[in-house]
Symmetry: C2
Subunit: 394 residues, 2 copies
């Protein structure tokens, strides 16, 4: 997990050293976590209260120039003098907390392959993509109060499941994952009624986390008409503990897929806003070894973060520091590159074989771990996104 | 507006006395706002920091026993000694702020008549109610960051509107209102994975506000498949400034409509959880007199607040202090009792005549004001919910 936590990465997290200790803002470097507050004296011009903090909230409230100054100052002092011994401790001992207080949480649906797969499964006789899909990044608001950090156990949700004689009540029998990449916003909020132009996205996108958007397909299928997903999603959304700054991913920005038709003006950007980030999903049944069940790449996403942000604010909605925007399930076009079990098993037609334990959906005791790091295209050192992991409790 | 702000009501708000002043937690009584902090010495046993505060956030974090103690102590001292003169000022001078920090915002769809009307309009050849509607309170998460207090101007949103040759970009031409009743939760959050039984709803429902869920019907119609409303709603949601405690509405609780089929066990309650609250909507075109365009009653809602809360938490989702839960549009079955323009005008077939200014949807400069007070059934003094008002800017 620590491979890729280089000085060029330097992700931020909110970490406790012991279960009863207070959470402190840290960076990860190599195999160590480094608390930032003891570095304050070394960081000329950085307001100490930004880093003498439990988490990223205060830094996210600051402007992009401040994020850049802090990052540069940290890289300089850590390269020159290393961390103060009292400030660093092994990542293996780090107990992560949520890295920031989540404002609004939006979940998009930005993978063409994922949307196409689901359309093929559930509307086999129609165009798999709905008419709006190629014109705007479809999305919805999720529940920010149940966004949890990696390592938090996830209890299988109970709910109404469809049945031939009406709904019944009980545990979800179709508990799934969704492999996603999320970004957190920062900087001064726009005024109500004032959109954020797409070429200002860089001033508002602070960094990235991995997201597992746990999904109860049976609850979702029964409830979602006509207002969208609700309890089938709101029981838990897990994010990785280390927020990788956008600045750390600069070298790994690539052109995304061609968009046809050309999007409306407010969604057009000439900058490369896709990211060469390799992603994988591992599933470990209790008492069994872990196995990788999917490999894909975030560069396949049709709609990119700048377009997602510009779209969210295009109606004048306020974007606050700490808002979380997730990509939607990232799926490729080949078998084994899909980011959800419902796609990997083609709605149950092709169960996964895991060293003797077959799976269509998740069983109690299963642990799912999503990990990510930048790909090889840019050369040089990889930048790790770390992992987001969670075990299902019955 | 102040009629009904009795001692038996005593709603809470976050009020500034002047544009540059700090917001302070207040109650409304008669025609006065009363700042609470100066009353601290008189309130034995109430932690002063709960009321020496800018808004309701600290009180909402406390348990229901504390809300009850504060309310009783305030009623006793205000009845016996009146407010300290330096603490009270005319309601007419009160500048309201958001009464609490909104956690998650959920919008339901709990009026049978509203859901039926929309079904009839948009699916004329099918059953107007979808199969899930009578089994669960359908709802979705809205954007908490653009919940604003009454009086905040609302800029007409721009967005993608459907057209014969694909979407075009521009101002919404179908800007609507939705008349709703909302409640705010309080008390210690449930643990992730632990539902809130319906008979504990009283410990988590603090009080009520009026809600105008502004809606851009053209943006919504194009975007909402398959994940539900998003930018058609997220540009603004207005709430009334005074939070009326559940305790103030006790005498006005009534049995709701019969539910057929009987809901599943977790949604069953023998308590009366509907509220006899008379509601009306007034529309004032710029330069014209205001006219009442709709009158209805919250008691018509099919799904009640206890059921909404139990449903939201039934999958183990955390309910935090400050979450806002809105009812969905409240509509009756007769013409003139519907809580949205799209229903009142039957999708434009019957424009409203407003002393010479005809309306199908809102025009720039229009001001919409929703007001509410308890009905006559319980006898005795009415309890005012106050008003939520907003003007459309172009």
């Amino acid at each position: 997990m620590a491979d890729g936590f280089t000085l060029a990465n330097l992700p931020y997290g909110s970490i406790r050293r012991a279960p009863a200790a207070e959470a402190r803002l840290c960076v990860a470097l190599g195999t160590e976590a480094i608390e930032l507050a003891p570095l304050a004296k070394r960081l000329d011009g950085i307001p100490p209260e930004l880093i003498d903090a439990p988490n990223l909230d205060r830094l996210l409230a600051a402007d992009a120039i401040v994020w850049a100054e802090l990052r540069e100052a940290l890289q300089r002092t850590l390269a020159a003098d290393g961390p103060p011994p009292e400030a660093s401790f092994p990542l293996d001992d780090a107990l992560p907390c949520l890295p920031f207080t989540v404002g609004d949480y939006v979940d998009f649906y930005s993978s063409l392959e994922h949307a196409t797969n689901l359309g093929r499964m559930f509307r086999p006789d129609a165009d798999p993509l709905l008419p709006n899909w190629r014109h705007l990044p479809v999305g919805y608001h999720g529940r920010s109060g149940t966004v949890v950090v990696s390592g938090t156990p996830v209890r299988r949700p109970r709910g109404q499941r469809p049945g031939p004689d009406g709904p019944t009540w009980g545990p979800s029998a179709r508990l799934d994952i969704e492999l996603e990449l999320g970004f957190v916003t920062a900087g001064a909020p726009n005024q109500l009624g004032e959109p954020i132009p797409i070429d200002r996205a860089r001033e508002r996108i602070f960094g990235f986390v991995l997201v597992n958007d746990w999904s109860a397909r049976d609850i979702q299928a029964w409830e979602y008409q006509p207002l969208g997903p609700f309890l089938g999603k709101s029981f838990a959304t897990s994010i990785s503990p280390w927020v990788v700054p956008l600045a750390a991913l600069e070298a790994h920005r690539v052109a995304g897929p061609a968009q046809d038709p050309s999007p409306l003006e407010y969604l057009r950007t000439s900058e490369p806003w896709a990211f060469d980030i390799e992603l994988e999903v591992a599933l470990q049944p209790a008492g069994h070894p872990s196995r990788t069940i999917a490999r894909t790449n975030a560069r396949e996403l049709y709609w990119n973060p700048a377009q997602q942000l510009a779209h969210v604010a295009s109606n004048g909605a306020i974007v606050r520091p700490g808002d979380l925007y997730a990509s939607g399930t990232i799926s490729g076009s080949h078998n084994g590159t899909q980011g959800s079990l419902i796609e990997l098993t083609w709605n149950g037609e092709r169960p996964l074989q895991l060293n003797g334990a077959a799976r269509i959906f998740l069983e109690d005791g299963d642990t799912v771990t999503i990990s990510g790091r930048t790909g090889a295209e840019a050369g040089g050192e990889r930048v790790a996104l770390g992992q987001v992991s969670g075990q299902i409790l019955g």
